[in-house]
Symmetry: C2
Subunit: 248 residues, 2 copies
């Protein structure tokens, strides 16, 4: 029977997982999904995700595909899988796509959000989806420094040294910082992100917010071929993969 | 040494607790707090809370008092306790109050919030602090019915039959329903709330939102001396005790 390719949009709370990708120790979101798709279809399947989110990182719009010979309408996978999955993983939509659709090797715009809780004491209901920062932050200085990041740059200094990628040039099309009461939200959109790139950008901008670094440091970090990292990698729980837009 | 009375404002994620009050089985927020205050002060203490929130109900502004002979500045209890407490309970403030201040027997205005996630499929990051309702809701009908509840009424039909209270008259000073994207927020303020009262109000208003009941049913339920309950008790995880204002 001909195989059909099903594209899922998946939301998850990453708190209790070792990240998207199957790991030797710990339960991954991918493994949990794969197990339940296999139980539903009765087939051995291979699930391929668009983005390898780290342990503790969340998603609203992760994209993943698998092939099945089952003739069911694609949208039936939404309730059928949600009934089986733990409540911290929820399929948002399912549709049939072309057999050569690949979630990772196509032109996309990805949007991430990073949330910073900026107040005197933490809030228990925000502990799993924001980074608590008690020190005052200069949001204006951070926004100004963020402008340096927009555009096409070599982001080799905004990337974990563990990466195996050789081309570290990426284009950031949009980066905004907004504050609503105690919560600062950073939204960033681009054509691709290196390993830990968003969290290193946030770490650098926080240094600017503390007046320990300046927009010029961010610029230098983008322009130099030397190793020059402005700030640490911000922790995972503040980060959510919001959306992946397929451009072709 | 003279005893000083310390008033704490406490926020907690109620997910992992059997409610505020010490129970024979399960860990209560009160027991957890009491244990850490005793470890800090080295004294046997009695912690008294303003509101006995149920299992799974959250708080941003629970109020609790205890007496201590320790001469430390009251505000020092905030970092000292937060360092010891699990991350799902956070002291927001601490101050010394009069020795006869009682969190429950004084005139107050309490504000609660109930959150309803109203969309086709659930969101994993909202599962612990909202009630997921996939059916369409008529917010206008709900808001109109909510107006019936504002004012002084006998709320005997908006109260668990398990209550031991004899006077079931309460005054609701404010009740609003707002929608932001998929999240409906009900905010209610009053001089007191019976056992399960907010959750039964929400259950009744949801029936109105589904067009199963009307504002006239809510009115009847408030005016009749008979047993006439409009809807079920909405589940606990949507409810948060926001604030307690002491009026005297």
């Amino acid at each position: 029977m001909a195989l059909r390719r099903i594209k899922l949009v998946v939301a998850y709370d990453g708190t209790n997982y070792c990240g998207w990708q199957v790991q030797p120790n710990g339960v991954s979101v991918q493994a949990m999904l794969q197990k339940h798709i296999e139980a539903l279809t009765g087939e051995k399947i291979m699930l391929t995700g668009a983005s390898r989110t780290d342990s503790g990182v969340h998603a609203l719009g992760q994209v993943a595909v698998f092939d099945t010979s089952r003739p069911w309408p694609a949208e039936r996978f939404v309730p059928a899988l949600n009934q089986r999955l733990p409540k911290d993983i929820v399929i948002q939509s399912a549709e049939e796509v072309a057999a050569d659709f690949h979630p990772r090797y196509q032109k996309t715009l990805k949007t991430y959000e990073y949330r910073i809780l900026n107040r005197r004491v933490p809030l228990p209901n925000q502990r799993l989806n924001s980074y608590f920062v008690p020190q005052p932050l200069d949001l204006e200085a951070m926004s100004k420094a963020a402008e340096e990041i927009i555009g096409t740059h070599d982001f080799h200094n905004f990337c974990s040294v563990k990466t195996k990628v050789t081309n570290t040039v990426r284009t950031i099309t949009n980066l905004t910082l907004t504050r609503e009461e105690d919560m600062i939200c950073l939204r960033i959109t681009g054509d691709g992100f290196l390993y830990n790139m968003v969290r290193i950008i946030v770490g650098g901008l926080l240094k600017v917010g503390f007046h320990k670094k300046t927009a010029a440091d961010i610029r230098k970090s983008l322009e130099t071929s030397e190793r020059y990292v402005v700030g640490p990698t911000a922790p995972p729980q503040g980060l959510t993969l919001i959306n992946i837009e397929y451009l072709e």
